[in-house]
């Protein structure tokens, strides 16, 4: 089942999964088995027992070697680039890919480079998206290293 949070209260209310209070957020757990979870734009991460799927964990690693210099640890922002928690609440996967691949320039000294040629980003866009969605939903509290399920090899 798709992980959700209280920003969609109707859907959350319909779910029976236990709600955990984490850093002020109420996070709804995924159902099913992490071993059969696959990424989708609608259901980007798997979250259960305080742990996330390996792809989301990889997103944490990749984010913190490519993005955090400007966007701050765990997407908390800095004076060079905005915090991502708010924008990730509404950003779709398609919009996310577009911004990361093409970059963005809004005002002076606010430049996001395009990452189209970066092979430490491009193959992991979905993992980074999953990580930031998990952060926005409160499944991963703060700048900590998320607990994870083991890596699942695709057969």
């Amino acid at each position: 089942m798709k992980p959700t949070c209280l920003r969609n209260p109707l859907l959350a209310a319909l779910l029976l999964g236990p709600a955990l209070v984490s850093n002020g957020y109420a996070v709804t757990e995924s159902t099913g088995d992490y071993r059969i979870f696959t990424f989708s734009a609608e259901e980007p991460y798997f979250y259960k027992d305080g742990k996330v799927d390996f792809g989301t964990y990889n997103g944490f690693r990749r984010y913190h070697s490519e993005c955090h210099v400007c966007h701050g640890p765990a997407g908390l922002g800095s004076s060079y680039a905005p915090a991502l928690m708010k924008s990730m609440e509404t950003m779709t996967f398609a919009q996310f890919v577009d911004v990361v691949v093409r970059g963005r320039q809004q005002r002076a000294n606010f430049v996001m480079p395009g990452f189209a040629e970066n092979m430490n980003v491009l193959p992991y866009l979905h993992d980074m998206f999953a990580y930031l969605k998990a952060r926005a939903d409160g499944a991963i509290p703060g700048a900590t290293r998320p607990a994870k399920f083991p890596k699942v090899d695709i057969k």
Partner: protein, 598 residues
């Protein structure tokens, strides 16, 4: 204990050598660095002691210190380095966009001129750890500014007009400028930043007259690139052999091998040698670069005229923790083991305090200057190699494995924040970090101009304590801590010791502190508007001593901590002490100048 007076003798030597106009700048600076009224280079003098003979402000009256005047740089982010003072003029710099101001000390800091370079803001995302700049240099009536985009600019010191500029690296490939240049003889020396972007480090000398390149010595590569002589250049007394800068690398990894040179540069005029350290090998994933990765993490002694390396010493072969070797090299003449020696004292990121014979490169002392250091048991004095503990070896543990509890953290037991040495007490005063980490390396591929890191880190206070820093006094002969003052946060500010028996430093909460040089007892503190990662200086104007420091939280410490440094084991410790730095201070660049009441 010998006081060091070699600089005076060296001035004579330099004058004798001076056959061209070139040596005049050198002789001028050698004289000026001995004038305690000025603060003519970032670390006070060529020896990088950050010591001042001024004693008007002393241990007895420092408690009465008050703010004389302040000045806003108009820039947020991390303000490293500090102002220069030459006669009636103070030169203040800022982080990106790298504004420089000349302030009139005769007229309450009136702005004589202001220079702001035009730089492409796309350089911002290729700066690893905030858009810091460690200050300008003076020489030959010029102010040398090393911009974020790796452009070195010579400005007319009187008018601020550009005399020449030269590009020292390509920011599109991740090469940036953060370090303070140093003027040596007729040349100005600059390093390069970008170890997290696969930049191959080098120290480069430009002729101060016109900006033409005199020499460039790379940290790795063939001997022709590294300016290493296989027979004459030595490592712990032995010739290094042919192409030592490629033979300990696999394939072409050395071409993107890091070893950047973003720290401080010292100079011994008598030996005519320049001393500095190189940074981490690139990438941070050690599994991807087997071998010792020479000459990353290395102390270099190079001939100031030719750049040829006289000796090298690699402190951390095959780095697995990002322990850059770039911290300052402090040059003093001291009794070591009962014998008077010309030594270099260096507090490395890896947590060891090294005392090295700076003539020969012989290793004399290597001891931990923070008891928390655990990644190595000790340094083998015969081979110079740290004895690595397998549990903390991120290579041994492997890719995709999170190695935990490594001390120090990647930011080192001390980062670039320069220490100070007082010939009055014979002690070194060292701002330190007391932080440990988890480190997980993983595979990365290289794209020019894109981050090339390959590890994720978590940092937290060292076990058993509730503080992230210490300010210590160090005995470089015995290799022992004499006193240690705990600080809530890492001490990321450069220290200043004076003949008045006082040592000054700043804290991340924004305090300027004065402590007794003998005991470490706190004598004075004042909270400036923002966290201090700048370096304290002092000068005399119109017969009155002043102390100056830049505030402006940021840098590596500020980036992480301002956003909330979290400890995975916080439940076990004193949670209150880990409270976010953002509860204590805020961003903002300001100069604060202190004086005694009239």
């Amino acid at each position: 204990m010998r006081q060091f007076r070699y600089t005076a003798a060296a001035a004579v030597v330099a004058l004798a050598i001076g056959s061209s106009g070139s040596a005049f700048a050198n002789a001028e600076l050698i004289g000026m660095q001995n004038n305690p009224n000025d603060w003519v280079m970032q670390n006070g003098n060529y020896a990088n002691t950050r010591f001042s003979e001024l004693d008007q402000i002393n241990a007895g009256n420092v408690k009465d210190l008050k703010v004389a005047w302040t000045f806003s740089t108009g820039v947020l982010r991390g303000h490293e380095g500090g102002p220069l003072v030459i006669g009636d003029v103070m030169y203040v710099h800022a982080p990106f966009p790298n504004t420089v101001f000349a302030l009139d000390l005769k007229d309450n800091g009136r702005i004589i001129w202001k220079y702001e370079p035009k730089q492409d803001p796309s350089v911002i995302p290729v700066m690893c750890c905030d858009t810091v700049n460690r200050g300008v240099a003076y020489g030959d009536d010029k102010i040398f500014l090393y911009q974020a985009d790796a452009t070195l600019v010579a400005l007319d010191a009187k008018t601020g007009t550009k005399v020449w500029s030269v590009s020292n690296g390509d920011p599109n490939k991740g090469a940036t400028g953060t370090s303070a240049p140093v003027v040596v003889k007729d040349k100005v020396l600059v390093g390069i930043s970008g170890g997290e972007f696969g930049v191959r480090g080098h120290l480069t000398a430009y002729n101060i007259k016109d900006g033409s390149m005199a020499w460039r010595g790379y940290s790795m590569g063939p001997d022709a690139d590294t300016l290493i002589d296989p027979q004459k250049t030595t490592h712990l007394g032995k010739p290094v052999g042919k192409d030592s800068g490629t033979s300990t690398w696999e394939g072409d990894q050395w071409k993107i091998g890091g070893g950047t040179t973003w720290g401080w540069y010292s100079y011994d005029p008598e030996l005519n040698l320049v001393y500095y350290g190189s940074g981490n090998p690139s990438t941070w994933n050690p599994v991807q670069r087997p071998g010792d990765n020479r000459w990353s993490m290395t102390i270099f002694a190079r001939d100031a005229d030719t750049g040829m390396a006289k000796w090298v010493y690699q402190m951390t072969p095959h780095d697995e923790w990002d322990y850059d070797g770039i911290n300052e090299m402090i040059l003093v003449d001291k009794e070591i083991g009962g014998k008077s020696r010309k030594v270099l004292v260096h507090f490395d990121r890896n947590g060891f305090g090294y005392t090295v014979d700076r003539v020969t490169g012989e290793l004399l002392v290597a001891e931990k200057y923070d008891p928390a250091v655990n990644w190595a048991t000790h340094v083998d004095m015969a081979t110079g190699r740290p004895q690595v503990v397998p549990q903390y070896s991120t290579h041994h543990n492997g890719e995709d494995v999170n190695s935990t509890g490594i001390c120090p953290a990647a930011l080192g037991s001390k980062d670039q924040q320069p220490a100070s040495y007082s010939p009055k007490t014979g002690l070194f005063y060292v701002p330190t970090n007391h932080v440990c980490m988890d480190y997980e390396p993983f595979r990365v591929s290289y794209t020019a101009g894109q981050p090339y890191v390959g590890a994720t880190l978590s940092m937290y206070p060292a076990p058993g304590g509730d503080h992230l820093g210490n300010f210590i006094a160090w005995d470089a002969d015995k290799g022992e801590i004499v006193w240690s003052n705990p600080e809530k946060f890492s001490v990321w500010s450069g220290a200043l010791a004076t003949a008045g028996g006082v040592v000054f430093y700043g804290t991340l909460e924004g305090y300027l502190k004065a402590v007794d040089a003998k005991t470490g007892k706190e004598l004075y503190k004042f909270k400036t508007p923002s966290g201090i990662i700048g370096n304290v200086n002092t000068y005399m104007h119109n017969g009155k001593q002043y102390v100056a420091v830049l505030s402006g939280l940021g840098g590596w410490a500020g980036i992480g901590m301002a956003a909330g440094l979290t400890d995975p084991t916080a439940g076990l410790g004193a949670v209150g002490a880990y409270a976010s730095l953002s509860n204590y201070t805020n961003l903002g660049g300001q100069l604060t100048v202190f004086e005694l009441p009239n």
